[in-house]
């Protein structure tokens, strides 16, 4: 392997579970239902399952690529396409990661602005987030992984709380199954793939796993846990909302929060949004770690200075994305890029790797 990571900075293969799961379950969970339900209606959960199978295959493809390339994506790019073309592709990938991080951050800030504090200026939370990101990422990959573990364990209580609206659910909504046509199901599956984005960071943190080959098992378990969460939450949503109502709700999960009541707490969404920070923080920290790691590999710079550059850029760029439409556009663009990256580009890369090996063998 051309890039050697010292053992003290590596994490055990089990962490692949937390890394993949924490990256997939993020800000998207708050509002993924609407987009899918617009296409596949009451059969949306089948679309999610289809997408789950698809992404599972994609994870195997990534593992094939990384196991054979014996490097992270930047090294593989260099080996396959040469220095210039390879580095350009890597650079584009890093930009994608950085924008992904910013979009997640901005979306979370928007939710806070819409649901909790209407007149909170964007820059306040941005500056706090930037400082946090610097602090977390400068702790290295282990610190970011630790955040992912915390981001899986601590909010896991919320998942069970989200089952409470089933009290008002009507499961008959879901029947009969397969009333949506197959091509619509597939279109829904395409939309669902977006919810599972995040696993592509594996391309960069792969060298940081111990016993890399055996970590695929954990990565797959992590992915299927995400599928389980998405499917169950989708079923709860479908049972609770009527189809026209769901199509008009931007953040169905937050609306579900609203009706949860305890003897001592009402309006659970305030609590939910606060706790959601524990889920979002590792998400953004991970993308920033990956982007800065990529910059370190690509340019002759320290990762610390890369993080500083990225955080400064964040403070400048994030408040510029102003209203709902802007954020939506950004979300659309980044999900389109993400979709094409994982569904087309990664298999293409894998094919190149396969061919390159064949050619090398013949020679």
């Amino acid at each position: 392997m051309s890039v050697k990571v010292k053992e003290q900075f590596q994490v055990s293969p089990v962490m692949a579970f937390f890394l993949i799961h924490a990256m997939q379950v993020g800000i998207g969970v708050l509002g993924y239902q609407q987009v899918i339900a617009k296409v596949s209606g009451y059969d949306s959960w089948i679309s999610i399952l289809l997408a789950g199978i698809m992404v599972s295959i994609l994870i195997s493809i990534i593992y094939y690529l990384l196991n054979h390339g014996r490097d992270d994506v930047i090294g593989i790019h260099k080996a396959l396409f040469g220095r210039w073309a390879g580095d350009t592709l890597s650079f584009l990938f890093i930009i994608y990661l950085f924008i992904l991080g910013i979009v997640v951050l901005r979306t979370y800030i928007e939710i806070v602005q819409v649901w909790v504090f209407e007149d909170l200026p964007t820059w306040v939370l941005t500056i706090l987030a930037a400082y946090f990101l610097y602090y977390a990422v400068s702790g290295g990959f282990r610190a970011v992984t630790g955040l992912c573990v915390a981001g899986v364990f601590i909010p896991s209580v919320i998942f069970f709380i989200l089952l409470m609206p089933l009290e008002y659910g009507k499961f008959l909504n879901l029947l009969p199954l397969f009333k949506t046509s197959f091509d619509k199901l597939m279109l829904g599956a395409r939309e669902s793939t977006l919810s599972f984005l995040g696993f592509e960071l594996l391309l960069l943190f792969y060298p940081f796993l111990k016993e890399q080959r055996s970590s695929q098992k954990w990565a797959q378990i992590g992915h299927w846990t995400s599928v389980f969460v998405y499917v169950v939450l989708m079923i709860v949503t479908l049972a609770f909302f009527s189809e026209p109502q769901l199509k008009m709700t931007i953040w169905p999960t937050l609306t579900l929060f609203k009706i949860i009541e305890f003897p001592f707490v009402e309006r659970f969404e305030y609590l939910g949004i606060s706790i959601w920070m524990v889920i979002v923080a590792p998400n953004i920290a991970m993308t920033f770690w990956a982007a800065s790691r990529g910059m370190k590999r690509l340019f002759p710079m320290k990762q610390r200075s890369a993080v500083i550059i990225l955080t400064i850029l964040t403070v400048v760029v994030t408040p510029l994305i102003e209203d709902r439409e802007n954020i939506d556009t950004f979300n659309d663009i980044i999900s389109k890029i993400g979709f094409w990256t994982v569904l087309v580009y990664i298999p293409f890369l894998c094919l190149c790797q396969f061919l390159a090996e064949k050619i090398r063998k013949k020679e």
Binding site: S12, G139, V265, E266, I275
Partner: protein
């Protein structure tokens, strides 16, 4: 660490002087250094010693009486007569300097004034072994460490009467010459841990070491953290238990506390009583402690956040109670909360500084009178009074005193976050604290274990304390050389019915 690495020079004993002149000089310079002329039937000799450091009775019995009875002419005769292991002949001023001030008697013959004999007869002044004060437990042994290192070594050695238990002595501090002992069990403790502790202690060049706790701050991994890096204990049983887990323990002469390294966050919430009580009860108590610590940190900030921003969160019936109690109060919740927290901290600090009996009075005056009066005067709401008092009570459940302090302080950033941004503010503070904990290390080992790195097998002794036959492994944290506590064939064996 630079602070402790700077080189400084103290006035050392001038080795160029003659021994006789130097001895005369120091006995004139300092009142407590005596120069005594002793006459015996066989000749005269001069004794130099520090009055308060030596045991005069033993000096008379062991040295002077034989010298008056048996004939002698030279140093070698005296060495033969006073039969002792600690007697030593020297001409080196440095050595005399060192030993004279740690309880030796210097004996000088007029015939050879530049060579001396030294005999150790230190006094044995020490406090009796008493009951632990800060780590009191209802069941279990009642011994606590004292200020004298030798006694403390004895207290631990008594519990580990094996050859494998090793004691290494290091003297640090140019001024205080503090004797520091490092304990470990050779076959269990990780070599890297032992070496790190010894190396870090040797590297300390601060001139006065105030004691174990000061030393532990000098050698901890991160000096800017608010969390204590190492568990300190005044219980020899806890120190011995830590040693048996493969940890390293060190303590300074003059402080009744041992420091256990490496430590994890969770260990600060465990008490040895957890192991003396049945495991169900121990688990319950430990869970109670962890919940109360969380409550202690979160309670007041949540009050501030909810009443400043999210009053919609409170159900209607509860809200009316709250409004009734707060309706006359002229301050925003943050001021109200800080005022009360300040009062409680004041009571605690005053109570800790005053003698026990006065302290109790202050507690009653402060707790009941001030609390009640401030509610009646309309300065604070009684709901907040309950919350703050409960939170203060909860912060005292941490069995290690240092952690209790941390919990009380860490509440304030949460409170300010809550006042600025409500629940989001609390969440931000929380995420920062978690990140900080993940980054912390104790002796190079992760502080946040067993949560991260995830060590599920150590969870048997984390939130709960499972029965001893399940706790057959030493925790990962100490990197023990062998982890089994039970013989391998005894583990996980269950008898079948009627067998």
């Amino acid at each position: 660490m630079n602070l402790f690495r700077r080189k400084r020079q103290y006035r050392a004993a001038p080795s160029s002087k003659r021994v006789s002149a130097w001895l005369r000089e120091i006995s004139e310079n300092s009142k407590d250094v005596s120069a005594e002329l002793v006459e015996t039937p066989f000749g005269v000799l001069t004794l130099y010693y520090v009055d308060d450091l030596i045991n005069t009775e033993r000096l008379n019995m062991d040295a002077l009486r034989p010298l008056k009875k048996n004939p002698w002419t030279s140093y070698s005769d005296i060495e033969r007569i006073i039969y002792s292991d600690t007697i030593k002949r020297t001409t080196d001023i440095q050595e005399i300097n060192e030993r004279l001030f740690t309880g030796s008697v210097v004996c000088q013959l007029p015939s050879a004034p530049d060579e001396v004999l030294m005999l150790e007869v230190p006094t044995n002044v020490q406090r009796d072994i008493s009951i632990p004060e800060t780590e009191f437990s209802v069941v279990g042994p009642r011994e606590a460490f004292v200020e004298k290192l030798e006694t403390n070594v004895f207290l631990i050695r008594k519990r580990l009467p094996i050859e494998d238990f090793r004691v290494k002595n290091i003297t640090i501090g140019e001024l205080s010459k503090t004797k520091t002992s490092v304990f470990y069990i050779d076959s269990i403790a990780d070599k890297a841990n032992v070496n790190t502790v010894i190396q870090r202690i040797k590297d300390v060049e601060y001139d006065e070491i105030l004691g174990s706790n000061a030393l532990s701050q000098m050698i901890q991994d991160h000096s800017f953290t608010i969390f204590p890096a190492f568990v300190n204990t005044e219980r020899p049983d806890r120190a011995a238990a830590a040693l048996a887990e493969g940890k390293v323990v060190f303590m300074c002469d003059g402080s009744p506390e041992a420091i256990i390294a490496p430590s994890t966050l969770v260990e600060f919430f465990t008490s040895l009583e957890d192991y003396y009580l049945p495991w169900h009860i121990a688990s319950f108590v430990r869970l109670l402690r962890l919940i109360s610590v969380t409550f202690s940190i979160i309670a007041t900030p949540v009050y501030v956040a909810v009443l400043t921003f999210h009053y919609e969160m409170i159900p209607k019936d509860l809200l009316s109670t709250l409004i009734a109690s707060r309706s006359n109060i002229p301050f925003p919740p943050l001021i109200e909360a800080i005022f009360l927290e300040f009062t409680i901290e004041l009571l605690r600090e005053a109570g800790a500084r005053l003698p026990t009996k006065v302290g109790q009075t202050i507690g009653i005056v402060g707790g009941i009178v001030i609390g009640q009066a401030s509610v009646e005067a309309g300065l604070t709401s009684n709901v907040l009074l309950i919350v703050v008092a409960l939170a203060a009570l909860a912060s005292f459940t941490s069995p290690v005193y240092q952690m209790g302090n941390t919990i009380r302080i860490i509440r304030f950033p949460f409170m300010i976050g809550a006042a600025l941004m409500g629940g989001i503010g609390i969440a931000i503070s929380f995420v920062f604290v978690v990140t900080h904990l993940i980054r912390l290390e104790s002796l190079g080992r992760p502080y946040f274990a067993p949560f991260f790195p995830l060590r599920i097998s150590d969870w048997r002794d984390t939130f709960v304390r499972l029965p001893f036959n399940v706790l057959y492994k030493r925790p990962h944290q100490s990197r023990a050389a062998y982890r089994q506590k039970l013989p391998a064939e005894k583990i996980g064996k269950k008898k079948d019915i009627d067998e």
